[in-house]
Amino acid sequence: MLDRLEAVLKVEDLTKAFAGEQSLLGRLVARRTRVVNAVTDVTFSIPRGETFALIGESGAGKSTIARCIAGVLAPSAGRIMIMGHDLASAPTGKDAMRIRRNLQMIFQDPYASLNPRWRAFDSIAEPLRTHRIGNSRRAVRERVAQMLELVGLTPGDGRKFPHQFSGGQRQRISIARALSIEPALIIADEPTSALDVSVQAQILNLMRDLQERLGLTYLFISHNLAVVSNMANTTGVLYLGRLVEVGPTVHLLLRPRHPYTRLLVDAVPDIASTGKTHRAVKGETPDPANAPSGCPFHPRCFLAIDRCRTERPVLRPLDGVQVACHRGEDMRTIRDVPTPAPASELTV
């Protein structure tokens, strides 16, 4: 039904503003309520079967975007189209359910992602029951068993409670739950950030395998550039609620055209860089309520000029990516991010 290259998710000018914290009295007295822009004018799309990553540090707006797309937070402006349908135009009722059928999410905290009083079976079966898929109890049971096996667990595990599983296993159950209704889009919000390295490798491999087998589309949200580099086709870098650079992951991380991206990549500690200290980032991400004028990154930028303080740069195409920087061309002269030495592999 859907053209192979058609976008599963299309986000246009997504904007979300929150009312700033103010006392009741303050709100009565002030003429304007203070507004905090958590997300501004975010635009991107994801073709079927691909993974799009959103990277950013805390306060960048990743969670806000995820929640808007998931339909649990209403955007202040912009459009979100899932398989061509706009969730905002049909927030409840049958139409909403039809859209929600195409959308699922997996979360960061494996300990809070599953209802502690429910058996794994029931957690996985809930989306099936909600969407009335499976016309008999046996059909539901079979599907749940299928899902459990798909994620590397056994059908017998369905009878257990979450506290009987490890963190990695709980994430598998969350993935099984997300897959049960065969959604077109899965939002993965830091799915491995709370897991140990070896468990992370298992879960990331699982997600890749499933994507290939089932043609899944992922929106992958993370602060971990190494993970993103291994998982995403396309990446967008968020800073204070705006996309500062978007493009193929390989380009972004090897030849970044935005200083912030460059600094993020440089800041990633690598096991091959023993004894070396790299260029560290100055300062901290400012409070979104006090965003700097002009380019929000200018106070911490090593390429900042006067123009950066007064004029906010917009996204423009440059060398295969989209970048919001006045000095994008000058980034070309900075030598490429080095490819570190390979780690020793396990020889059998």
Binding site: S166, V199, I271, T285
Partner: protein, 331 residues
């Protein structure tokens, strides 16, 4: 002589069903002025080791064997009063959560000056000067004014810097840093770790850096100790352990770490998960997950075997343990 010597340390956890060994016969040293990275996954026991050294083990946890020797004197048997004097002065700690490391109702200036006065017997005026100096050293802008700020008025990164200042305030010989940057953004992590390394080297302070992040430790530590299921799997100079690891667990762990500029289609994965202390396998704790296990592994726990400048607890390093092929005559 090593500054800190952990010798055959064992820690048990008392449960309704009996005692469980959570740390088993752990031995390692920290030399004066060096940074030792203690690496392991959840449940390996790395935080517990730090707690034991700091004398912070509370029931149902308790040390069940071994000794901890600091600066030539045994500290695991010190009475609480004497240990309090030691802790904070000679051995300081930096923890993960800066919000709970600092007293929320005291200004940071007061927390600093109190520590300085308690351990150095300086007058209030001089102590304040020292405190401001420390804040400047950890990179807090406007240090004099900041003395009267409360912890909640500072950002996370600033707070962690204050915690560092507090730790260094008494010029300790050893700092135990337990996941000090895990809760911070990537760009901040690099800054804080660099700061810690610089301050430690300027003062000749040794640091025991506990973390799960191999990449972070690569840039910071002189030597690395890898823990698995409460035991030491491998220990050696950082470059040796990371570039030519000897223990199959270390190899697998390093291979499964995603690298920013070396994306792969499929990450290497070690099958299975680390056993809980109550279910530690017999012999070598890693053998059920080890792709190169030999018949001896499930039966005997391997000792630490030296290989060049490292040591690893693996039978594969002991030529006499590897079974020989049957000779033609026996066929």
């Amino acid at each position: 002589m090593a500054l800190l010597s952990v010798q055959h340390l064992s820690i048990r956890l008392s449960t309704r069903h009996g005692d469980v060994s959570v740390i088993d016969d752990l031995s390692f040293d920290v030399q004066a002025g060096e940074i030792l990275g203690v690496v392991g996954e959840s449940g390996a026991g790395k935080s517990l080791t730090g707690m034991a050294i700091l004398g912070l083990l509370d029931p149902p946890l308790a040390q069940s064997g071994g000794r901890i020797v600091f600066d030539g004197g045994r500290i695991d048997t010190l009475p609480p009063g004497e240990f309090d004097a030691l802790r904070g002065k000679a051995i300081a700690a930096v923890f993960q959560d800066s919000m709970t490391s600092l007293d929320p109702i005291m200004t940071i200036g007061r927390q600093l000056t109190e520590t300085i006065i308690a351990h150095h017997r300086l007058g209030r005026r001089k102590a304040e000067d020292r405190a401001a100096q420390l804040l400047a050293e950890v990179g807090i802008p406007g240090p004099r004014e900041r003395l009267s700020s409360y912890p909640h008025q500072l950002s996370g990164g600033m707070r962690q810097r204050v915690v560092l200042a507090l730790a260094f305030a008494c010029e300790p010989r050893l700092i135990i840093a337990d996941e000090p940057t895990t809760a911070l953004d990537v760009s901040l992590q690099a800054q804080i770790v660099a700061l810690l390394k610089r301050m430690a080297s300027e003062r000749g302070t040794a640091v025991m850096f506990v973390t799960h992040d191999m990449g972070l430790i690569a840039e910071t530590a002189d030597r690395i100790a890898v823990l698995y299921a409460g035991r030491l799997a491998e220990i050696g100079p950082t470059s040796d352990v990371l570039q030519s690891p000897q223990h199959p667990y270390t190899k697998g762990l390093i291979a499964s770490i995603p690298r920013v500029n070396r994306p792969v289609h499929r990450l290497f994965q070690i099958e299975g998960t680390m056993p809980s202390p109550a279910a530690r396998p017999s012999g070598c704790a890693f053998h059920p997950r080890c792709p190169v296990a030999i018949p001896r592994c499930p039966h005997d726990q391997p000792p630490l075997i030296t290989h060049k400048r490292s040591q690893a607890a693996c039978w594969l390093l002991d030529p006499s343990a590897i079974p020989m092929k049957e000779t033609l005559q026996d066929a």
